[in-house]
């Protein structure tokens, strides 16, 4: 049993005695009453001692009571002793105790009052209240009488007694090591080896510790690192690029028509800044207007340079893919990006003006639609969504397009992103001759499912309490995708 030295000393002090007051034991141990009581409770918790609590009422003289005691008695006694036989009321009223004493004398039947004269009756024996004035007995009626008159006041005191239990007694019989305990193990003790003979203080191992919070990576970042690892393991090259992009890269290079609703001011953050068009822009123009020599009709109309030069906060990471392909038109290419994108949305639980998107592309000879589905299934499975199904979809820059859905317990089929094969109108201007499988994924949507969040804002609001309470990297198991708690 992990008894502290203090507990042991208390037990020893109790040896062979009945219950003793804690105050008394404290004196013997040379400790404070509070500390001694704590040792007693610890021993009691182990079943070695029994602590009893007694509440006592003690009476003390009030200020009024003290003057009576000093003057030798209650007012009525002082008054009765001040005359013999009888006395005119007028004369008795000069006595300092007259105001209170006359009434009490009459009430106790010590005097009679007739025709302005006070006359003693009987011999006025000393009552219990008078005894209580000199020695108040808490249980006697006298003390209660005086308390009612405001001469005495009651005070409650709590007294603890501690005594050994049978278990305590038998432990004492088996003997206790009473040497001083060592708290801190010092260098000297270790080096000299004396620690072997020292009683090391034992800790109570189940008391709550002081809580500390390790430095850690944000749970959302942990998930993004996990996605990066999956793609790196699958042989993808990571892309990184500017947040500010020309509309050319953000829209036109992806064959998004210039009058597409997504390009309007209501949906996209435009900046009051323009970027000159890159080499190759004329081929993109040709594609938009006439279909650029690949037997496409193009969008028709006139493609406007000015619209393409305007800068925007990128609305997706797909532009990083086409920029990369423009630099690397030869197969094979496998690349991905995870980055922040911007949409002109008012903030609510499911919409934010900025969030993360994941982007992946595969370009090689002979890759096809089934391979796209294969990559999607592989990636989603590794992300913790083993059930994947595919539906037709529409995205301006892919054909065929597909909307992958994953099954989430409690939610059913959830759409997490989009995918497809880049249109020839997108790839041809950059001399890319082989199919480009491409997919995008709403990273924050995955994070909400994996972290069990209902409100997208929680990812960015950075509640320190939530971050402290969310388990660390590596312990967010892939099967943690779940329905947010109601």
């Amino acid at each position: 049993m992990d008894l502290s030295l203090n507990e042991k000393r208390l037990l020893v002090a109790l040896k062979g005695r009945k219950a003793v007051s804690v105050a008394e034991i404290a004196k013997e141990l040379g400790a404070t009453e509070e500390a001694t009581l704590q040792y007693a409770h610890l021993c009691s918790g182990r079943g070695l001692a029994e602590v009893t609590r007694e509440v006592r009422t003690r009476y003390t003289l009030t200020a009024e009571g003290k003057t009576y005691a000093a003057a030798g008695g209650l007012p009525e006694r002082q008054l009765r002793d001040s005359f013999t036989g009888s006395i005119p009321v007028k004369d008795l009223q000069r006595h300092p105790m007259a105001r209170i004493g006359i009434g009490w004398m009459k009430k106790k039947g010590w005097v009679s009052l007739e025709g302005g004269t006070v006359e003693k009756t009987g011999n006025a024996p000393r009552g219990p209240d008078e005894e209580a004035l000199t020695a108040p007995d808490p249980s006697g009626e006298g003390a209660a009488m005086l308390a009612a008159r405001g001469v005495l006041e009651p005070q409650e005191t709590v007294m603890y007694r501690v005594g050994l239990t049978a278990a305590g007694k038998s432990l004492l019989e088996s003997g206790l090591d009473l040497r001083e305990e060592v708290g801190t193990l010092t260098r000297e003790m270790i080096v000299s080896g004396v620690w072997k003979d020292l009683p090391l203080r034992r800790y109570r191992v189940d008391t709550p510790p002081r809580r500390v919070y390790p430095g850690k990576v944000h749970p959302y970042q942990v998930l993004m690192e996990e996605m990066r690892m999956i793609l790196l393991e699958m042989g993808f090259t990571e892309l990184y690029g500017d947040i500010v992009q020309s509309a050319f890269w953000n829209f036109d290079a992806l064959f998004q028509p210039q009058d597409h609703p997504a390009r309007e001011m209501q949906d996209t953050f435009y900046l009051g800044h323009t970027e000159p068009l890159p080499p190759g822009a004329d081929r993109v123009r040709e594609m938009h207007e006439k279909g650029g020599g690949i037997d496409s009709t193009g969008w028709g109309g006139t493609w406007n340079n000015g619209k393409a030069e305007q800068c925007v906060l990128r609305t997706h990471t797909t532009l990083l893919s086409i920029q990369h392909l423009a630099l690397h038109p030869d197969p094979p290419v496998k690349a991905f990006a995870i980055g922040r994108v911007y949409r002109r949305e008012a903030i609510d639980p499911t919409h934010l003006p900025e969030f993360e998107q994941l982007e992946g592309i595969v370009m090689d000879r002979g890759v096809n639609f089934r391979h796209l589905l294969g990559y999607l299934r592989e990636f989603y499975t590794r992300m913790g969504f083993p059930e994947v199904r595919f539906r037709p979809g529409y995205f301006p820059y892919t054909e065929p397009s597909v909307e992958p859905e994953v099954y989430v317990e409690g939610l059913g089929w959830v759409e997490l992103g989009g995918a497809g094969i880049f249109r020839k109108e997108v790839t041809a201007p950059w001399g890319i001759e082989h199919p480009v499988l491409a997919w995008g994924l709403g990273v924050s949507r995955v994070a909400m499912l994996r972290l069990g969040l209902r409100d997208l804002r929680e990812l960015y609001r950075s509640d320190i309490g939530w971050i402290r309470d969310t388990p660390s990297a590596g312990f967010l198991a892939p099967d943690r995708a779940r329905k947010p708690q109601e």
Partner: protein, 551 residues
Amino acid sequence: MPVISLNYDYLERLVGTDRETLLSRLPMLGSDIERLEKDHVDVEFFPVRPDLFSTEGVAHAMRGFLGIETGLRDYPVRPSGMSFSVDPALGSIRPFLGSAVIRNLHLDPDAILSLMGLQEALHWAVGRGRGKVAIGVHDLDRVTPPFRYLAAPRDRSFVPLDFDRPMTMEQILTDHPKGVDYAHLVRDFPRFPLIVDSRDQVLSFPPIINGELTRVTERTRNILLDTTGTDLRAVMTAVKILCAALAETGATLETILIDGTPCPDLSPAVRVVQVKECAELLGIELTASGMATLLQRMRFGAGTDGKDRVRVQVPCYRADILHDWDIFEDVAIAYGYDRFEPALPPVFTIGHEHRVMKESAALRGIFTGLGYQEVMPFTLSSEAILFDRMRRPRSEEVLPVLHPISEDHTVVRTEILPLLLETLEVNRHRELPQRIFAVGDVVKGCHNERHAAAVSLHPAADYSEAYAHSDACAREMGLSFTMEDSSDPAFLEGRRARVVAGGRPVATFGEIHPDVLTAFGLEHPVAALEFVVTGAPGSRGRPGIPSPDGR
């Protein structure tokens, strides 16, 4: 995207099958089921398929998809003998006109609802909010051909739809609800577009409002369609889609001569596509006849052209077919997305981390090692937070967003530190000490810069803590550096410094100025530091155009 309400009874009647079959197959045709109601289902179709924006159009497609009736639908069109003239003065206002005559209509309430929904969806998807194309539908029997589309004086008056008194076109722009909504489309023109008949009665003031005269009701039997706009292809697409949808209800179509040319032209476009190219793109085995059968289910006309090619007739309403691959997608949809066997190709590549991401991960390691917790604040902020609250002068390098959505999000951050102080502000009720950091992009001018910043908030936070941690961070980054005095007003004088490496400042740190603390509602000292990662000589990551191999 447009959401179309499909009435079960009407759809079942038009397709000739039960609702369970319809509901289970609709998604595989390419739609999102939004809501299932008792008598109808709300379905979202892709914006490039306006031909599916009506119950009639969906029924036509579903009959093919389910194999009930496949192949190209023939739209017999005969001349109406009517004509339309276009005023050349419209050339700079709203030059293009499309039109058609539809006879023998029997519009029950379901059909009228569907037609109105289609018109609205077309205005959105093809018309781009009526700017590019606007559609008018008129009771033909109330007016007399020939019709004229002209540029009229702005004070010309007529009785607009839903009103019982004549108004001038200028008054309509200010007093009629539709006029108010769409005034921006015509307001700046000296004359306004107007459609009148031979007796000078007004049919329409496109793209704003029709006249009350030609209102369509359940009793209407014959219709005159007009589509006007700024893009010829879109104007014709709208006419074709409306004609195709109305033909589904059993109506008959007639052409009208627009300046001598018959409209609409509902003949299919022809494309000859390669079977091999399609099979390779989709990764499935295909024969020419098999592919033709699949395309017929998507309502294309299709026949083999030798054993390697298929001759495809693209229905007039399929404005989304720009290229052969658009046809191949329809082959895939008819084949069934659920029938494709996913496969992984043997593409051998070696993965590369991007340098910036690698360095960011390393920085996360350094700061968590020093006991900091990562936070991920927004990158959108405001100049009030970034500069005013920080006691820093407003910077030239910041690019304001043109139409911010709130005053808290007007610029992209140029520093991370202010966002961290904001994070401390919202966490004031949390236990101290609070040590948080963030690694991420800021934007200077047009380009990203990767920064890492950290703050420590507790009663004993001071310069020494910021110094020790900045020193540790600089050493861990492998920098060869010196410390020098800083004049950054966000920090207390005499308790602020810079890390200088390779002759340039790469970090600022110190004790945050009490005025800054007060501005963020903080009551304890804060030790803070911010490193520029991509600018540092130790860093090999570069912002801007993605570094291709990550090295």
